[in-house]
Symmetry: D2
Subunit: 250 residues, 4 copies
């Protein structure tokens, strides 16, 4: 059994530092690099690409809304043509740094509110898919399992990877339980690992309501904002390893 | 005899429109496309690349300081590593649109205050040259004739093109007379054409002080902000044509 | 009978010019000045306040989403606390210029997508109303007649002015017909004047479907982006004058 | 003997957190609040003003260049009219939050590269002084002791406070030794306190070259980015206290 672990990195901006990028790179198989719109800046991108190369992790782009103040977490009602061009622009900027270091951008994962919007709206998912297709049709569209992003990738003939969450509970309809609700977050690495194993072995997990929900995954999203998060990833990896799951980039 | 005519385009930003891009494209052989930092935005860039392709003009990138309010005309005291990465970022973003349309970025011309700074400071010129080299070493560095930009291009082994001005007087040292001074601007197309012919035939022009100043040029910068400017370019072209000068892209 | 005519001004940004501000100021009784978030910049604001003072028009603030690329016309999913503070910030910045010139900010009219969102959502309207209240509780909240903005102003005990449109048709429910639909815009000044007279005399107009819709107005929104628009305002004013309607600031 | 201790605060931006604001507020007598241009945002400003009020520290504005990526530390070649209006804008925005909380802005201290430029160039210092004068002529201009900022304040009849540094060595001409040079920073609180006592008692300090340099101060700049810095301020305060120096706001 194989699974990819992906994490967002390169989110610092000038004097503003966010994230434990080096610690995360040592643990995951894929990274999503901010492209200067919701986070990141040219010099941060150059350094992050170099770091990803050094750690040998699979490089991905992480385009978002051009909303630094909101960190890309606020929906912006952009037109489809603007979304497409905005993503082409961001992919091109990261590609310049990647090409320069001789590494390829393997995947594209939309960030924050753009990810959420693309999960639910096919038109937005298609605008992103078209941007990926325009820049490099061999890149993988990494999107929420079962969402419109996967549908858009299939429609355009793009490769895709289905993302799932180890540390979040799902509703009975298969959506993430809002963080605002109690029980939304899985705090024990053992339970998180169990949920991943369910996804891999059965293609389904148990929802917060107890029913079985089909969720097929190729990649698991992890976070590394602080030391506890790093410890969580480490514990999760060990448990997956115990169950013969190999961590492997997309 | 050959000369390139280049003009800045793609400087609109969202609802803010600047420039008569289509009128200019019909007249010049090369265009410098703003990359979203001092002017331009992703959708404007997409449309501008498409327009350049349709008109068959040679496509160039026009990176500048990230200062929309100042339109890139204010010096910003950036570090060399930030300049290099900022230019890589901008070139990459334009390249994505160009690649998508199947056209190549032939040259890079810095904009405004970045151009002026790179003309005088070798460290800044080198930072830009290194960015060009990093993205595509076959691109031409278009910079002020006799400036540090040309020196930087030679140092790195980059191709270069020397820019001169048809409608501006030069000082006795060969620099542009400040627009703030009387007589800085040449208003008659016939005199502008004569200055270009001097550059092409003699590799030298007569300065505002009367002495001869060596200026070798491969490209002439023209502007098209309003109808008079468009008429000026048209008249200049006719006179150059009369004197067997062929307008040709870099 | 009295009516206020209001127009958006001060929307230029650095080298980017938009609007015929002087022409409009000569025709309207109130102006809404952009505060640097969706349009405008500090020097433009200083000049616009001075111009408003010289023309003797009633000065208003025009806060919007911090989205220059979208010109404030794209909904941004901000939190209520961020909307309130964003509006306080914008009002404060304009107030500094107004205080310096010895003129008062008489009203506040949200711009574009923020206006539309506040018309429909009471929480957003309340966040704006609270910002107005925090900065100067004597300012008038200028919002769409019959909308949540008027409700929010009443709730907080703010003064308010109900805005209507002379050149737009209304649906049978009393909302503006989308510009995307045929017949949405009233092009004849005589018909526009008739609609305003209906609002003033009857407190109701005829919808695009023919039924009567109650609309009470204190201010009419006019636009002055181009020469035809200026001519339209002039014709509208003449007709209102003929019918004994006096144009007067809030 | 009296001295003011001032510190920069409110420099966070959205999800990006910088500074230990609460820890610093408990130690200093004055704070300089970022106004959203080089750092800070509306909600951060609202919270920071509230915090300053709660801690009873003297509130100041900290306007800077509109360069978030450079954190206001890069010189931007703005025109004098733009500097003046930019500072009026920033002061106005902070004033709205201060007025709302019923506290006054007592002083204005330019930030980073704007501070450095205004220390050396009278035209820039005058542009800032005019902005202060325009917004509230009773505010104190806090600037480097012996610099053009103090000269500008005197010229306009503004109140001023002369700033010195406890933890930085001065050159024989009385300027700060560049941080790039060895020995630029004073690391022992006892030596820093001794330098402050020299300033207060003798109006002069010993330069890095050993000669005596006249420096009169009303305020000492301290930083609180990390725990060591906080400990340094605490130790400095204790030693000043031992020598009968009272910490007091401007």
């Amino acid at each position: 059994m194989f699974i990819d672990l992906n994490a967002d990195i390169g989110e610092s901006f000038g004097s503003y530092k966010i994230g434990m990028d080096e610690e995360i790179m040592a643990l995951v198989s894929s990274v999503n690099v901010a492209c200067g719109f919701h986070a990141g800046d040219p010099t941060t991108m150059a350094q992050t690409v170099l770091l990803a190369k050094r750690y040998g992790v699979s490089l991905g782009a992480h385009p978002g809304y051009q909303d630094l103040l909101g960190f890309g977490r606020r929906f912006v009602d952009m037109s489809m043509v603007d979304i497409k061009n905005s993503v082409i622009y961001q992919l091109g900027s990261l590609k310049a740094f990647a090409d320069h270091e001789g590494v390829a951008i393997k995947h594209v994962k939309p960030h924050g509110a753009l990810y959420n919007a693309a999960a639910e709206r096919l038109d937005i998912a298609m605008a992103i898919a078209e941007a990926i297709y325009a820049v490099d049709a061999s890149m993988v569209f990494l999107g929420l399992s079962g969402s419109k992003m996967i549908e858009a990738a299939k429609t355009l003939g793009l490769r895709y990877a289905r993302e799932g969450f180890a540390d979040r509970r799902y509703t009975k309809e298969g959506q993430l339980v809002s963080r605002a609700l109690a029980g939304a977050v899985i705090e024990k690495p053992s339970e998180a690992a169990a949920q991943v194993l369910d996804m891999l072995k059965n293609g389904a997990i148990k929802s917060i309501c107890g029913n079985e929900v089909p969720i097929k995954v190729d990649s698991i999203c992890v976070h590394g904002d602080h030391l506890e998060a790093i410890a969580f990833i480490r514990a999760l990896k060990e448990m997956l390893h115990t169950h013969q799951v190999t961590i492997k980039g997309l």
